[in-house]
Symmetry: C2
Subunit: 265 residues, 2 copies
DNA sequence: ACCTGAACACCGTTCAAGT
DNA sequence: ACCTGAACACCGTTCAAGT
């Protein structure tokens, strides 16, 4: 609630002239403090010790202002570039740093992620992401699609984490299945192919982990449904390489189980 | 723009009494037509031929109304239950049906996905999802976490698809990497572990695909960075099983490359 | 060029009053 | 119990006028 100095006539006087960057910065501060829905042109002007209408000389309208704030933060998503590290490690670091910055502006993220341009090709994040995929050996022509998928997946997990859904969902006790009826599908477009690829990827990732040692069914509760554990995938398939610490791997999802992580005991 | 009958004094008269469900349904119709930001208690009342204040006898406020709309749609996410199909196929169908319904209310989804309770444990979607994971052999104790991850990942991809980011990103030409400096990380919590698991999973999925036939580097552009293609993963690893059509697989991401899909020629 | 005050067309919601 | 009109405290934004 700091106030700038006042002129003799009682109106407030700024010590810094209004700029778009300054306006966006103050807007971000308001959003961080009270959420997007609390951002108001009038409140923003008050914080800047300006007349509400003065803002419109630097920003066309509130929507553009919000986009500016989202872009300002999007540009700041970056990470160190470790050209000599394995691509898996670089990817992990990139995503982790993304998450760290997202945590600094949790109130903005739901808005940012629903904006089509919160990450742009010039952004350090995109540059590093594509470099990592290149280092991973992804063909040049496929890099943008793969990078898009990584952005979408990571954003989705971030949203769910920040709004608490991830925490709430993961603390549910499993329910018994029940029969339901409905459903319809089938078409095919570029987005369809992308969507199938995500599914194929996370499924094949899960298959790999499951194939490690769950052939007979888990903890005394063998699944009786037709389970086809992809005979082509060998048993000794392991999680990606860059994980260095020696962790007990008797369960393919062990690093997620409560109290199983050895570092927490 | 249909209008109900009018009373002699010129005020409109509803033929159906106001109910919360009816209010939510009309609200959803307005959102589908013009977006969330166009939904207004006053406009909604006009559509229902009611006084704006009448709505407050059935809904405490606009926020609760929005939650009601999101829940109404969330409850409708469901799919057929194919207990005899392989779990991969069931997962694919579940996600595809999710997507189909999401496409029916694109204007609501960004809001829904940012709501912590748009999917609840009683919902058919959650029930089927957990059943599929059970059929996959996931240990009972890990099912909620895995289901949460699937929800988050699928939601993230849906948001990116619906707002056009997926399309825009995937049509970018790759940029050349540049050196940047920054970055900071490191902590550890339940959410941290979840986050690492997503990464491990999509990475191991991608590793599996990459290991198929990209040992020497892609299309004439061998990556000179230290690439460690996880020697433990054998070459002949294939995408998950439930894919039935015979597709050319000379490229692990071939079903995503422009014009490569054989069905499109 | 930048700023400003008054005003306009909206909002969500409270409240007292009607039936 | 349900509905209503008037009113309140806000919005974003236009516009004509100031410097």
């Amino acid at each position: 609630m700091e106030r700038a100095k006042r002129t003799p006539r009682g109106t407030r006087k700024r010590d810094v002239p209004l700029t778009e960057a300054g306006i966006c910065t103050s807007a971000l501060r308001l959003i961080d403090a009270d959420g997007v829905e609390a951002l108001t042109m009038r409140k923003l002007a008050a914080v800047l010790d300006a007349n509400p209408m003065s803002l419109y000389h630097h920003v066309p309208n509130k929507e553009a202002l919000m986009r500016g704030v989202a872009r300002m933060v999007g540009t700041r998503f970056r990470t160190v570039t470790l050209e000599d590290a394995p691509w898996q490690e670089r990817m992990r670091l990139l995503a982790t740093d993304f998450r760290t910055l997202a945590h600094r502006h949790p109130n903005l993220m739901a808005y940012s992620f629903s904006q089509p341009d919160f990450i742009q090709p010039e952004d350090p994040f995109w540059v590093e992401l594509t470099a990592v995929l290149d280092a991973a050996g992804v063909p040049q022509s496929e890099i943008p699609q793969l990078a898009a998928l990584v952005c979408a997946v990571v954003s989705g997990v971030m949203i769910a984490e920040l709004n608490g859904a991830l925490h709430r969902w993961s603390n549910l006790q499993p329910t018994t299945p029940a029969s339901v009826k409905d459903g319809q599908t089938n078409e095919d477009s570029g987005e369809d192919r992308m969507f199938r690829l995500v599914l194929d990827t996370i499924i094949s990732g899960m298959e790999g982990r499951l194939a490690v040692d769950h052939a007979g069914g888990p903890d005394g509760q063998p699944s009786q449904n037709s389970r086809r554990p992809s005979a082509r995938i060998p048993r000794q398939l392991r999680p990606p390489a860059a994980r260095c610490e020696g962790e007990s791997q008797e369960n393919p999802f062990s690093d997620m189980a409560a109290g199983v992580d050895p570092k927490e005991q």
